[in-house]
């Protein structure tokens, strides 16, 4: 090979090296742009996820486990054959009701509802504020599909501050989903229906006619009671259990 040919070959190899290096640099820049785009997509997904979460739904599986073997019909928890009916007039936004749901009612449910002595009916007494009504209606609509008490209990465990605008459609849907409402589209239609909204208003009127002014308030009905007996707010699970036994 002459010196001239060798120089030509050397030049061609250098050009090829430069071309490959340039191509690689271009591709690495493209890869960097792709990485940036990927991170942007992750950020968008996180924002969408956070914006639709509508608050934290808590202890759903615990609630569903506790209630899974107790019959439910509408907003009634317990066997239809139970002699005593206990009406609880409550507001889903009420923190005292939440405390009752966690500290008082589990004992009553375990001892007297599960055993078939009493059945417990949730009725709305919407006195906290405007967010209480859609919450109560959503609970009734969940009850139409046999998940009313799951809805109520999960709502309490996920409860926010009173009238803090946390009762959004997203929040209610998350609670309904966690409660195991099977047909969310039907639940959505029913919670806005006139019938359900009237039921919320009627139960409030009933609570007022019984002389109740706060939540939760209880009334009991059974063979040992004279009609529907208002109990007010029993101080403990034991007091409520005694009232149930007295009505039985």
């Amino acid at each position: 090979m002459s010196g001239r040919e060798a120089r030509r070959e050397e030049r061609l190899r250098a050009e090829e090296r430069d071309g490959a290096s340039e191509r690689r640099q271009r591709m690495v820049k493209l890869g960097s742009a792709a990485a940036f785009l990927g991170l942007a997509v992750v950020a968008v997904l996180i924002v969408v996820s956070q914006s639709q979460s509508g608050g934290k739904v808590e202890h759903a599986s615990e609630v569903n486990r506790e209630l899974h073997d107790i019959p439910q019909s509408g907003m009634v928890l317990g066997r239809p054959s139970a002699k005593v009916t206990v009406l609880e007039f409550a507001d889903l936004q009420c923190p005292v009701c939440q405390g009752y749901s966690e500290d008082v009612l589990p004992q009553v449910i375990e001892n007297q509802v599960r055993g078939g002595e009493a059945r417990l009916e949730f009725r709305n007494f919407t006195i906290i504020g405007p967010e209480s009504k859609p919450a109560g209606a959503a609970a009734i609509a969940a009850g139409e599909q046999g998940r009313g008490w799951n809805f109520v209990e999960i709502f309490y465990r996920s409860q926010g501050s009173e009238n803090s605008s946390y009762v959004t459609d997203e929040f209610l849907t998350a609670v309904a989903r966690a409660a195991g409402v099977p047909d969310i589209a039907r639940w959505n239609a029913e919670r806005d229906s006139r019938r359900v909204l009237e039921e919320v208003a009627d139960s409030k009127s009933q609570a007022e006619s019984l002389g109740f002014t706060g939540t939760p308030s209880f009334a009991v009905e059974g063979p040992g009671a004279s009609g529907l007996e208002p109990l007010g707010t029993p101080e403990s699970a034991g007091a409520l259990e005694s009232a149930i036994s007295g009505a039985g």
Partner: protein, 135 residues
């Protein structure tokens, strides 16, 4: 790298499909080691994105990553890297939610997060090592 990517993505499709099928109809994946973590996570409001089960997004992601692994060339390398970065980043977020927000761990979700992490590492090596080359 393409062989490893193919294996991981195929495995990921299986895991995500199981979660999606178990979640459909209000159910939940069964935690092999016991416990109720999978049910708690499935019932969480974070299990759906714009009304769609997150596992469905997972299936779509793994299928696309499988395509990238099967194809040659810089386009597949860059797309695989970007997709696995999205999957890895979102898996990190979901794992954070499980640990600090939902307070429950779903073994199937952890398995998917591990697969997505391995896919990200594989695709990053594939892109950084081979992009712009003739191989």
């Amino acid at each position: 790298m393409r062989g490893i990517g193919t294996f991981l993505a195929t495995f990921g499709i299986g895991v995500a499909t199981y979660i999606a099928i178990a979640d459909s109809g209000g159910g939940a994946p069964v935690c092999i080691a016991g416990g109720h973590g999978c049910q708690t996570v499935a019932e969480s409001s974070y299990s759906h994105l714009a009304g769609v089960d997150v596992a469905v997004f997972g299936i779509a992601g793994y299928v696309l990553l499988l395509c990238c692994a099967l194809l040659r060339g810089d386009g597949a390398r860059i797309a695989g890297f970007a997709l696995s970065l999205v999957g890895f980043g979102f898996s990190l977020y979901l794992t954070y939610l499980e640990l600090f927000t939902i307070d429950a761990i779903c073994q199937w979700c952890v398995a998917s997060a591990v697969l997505m992490t391995l896919l990200f590492v594989t695709n990053a090596i594939r892109m950084l090592g081979y992009v712009g080359t003739e191989r």
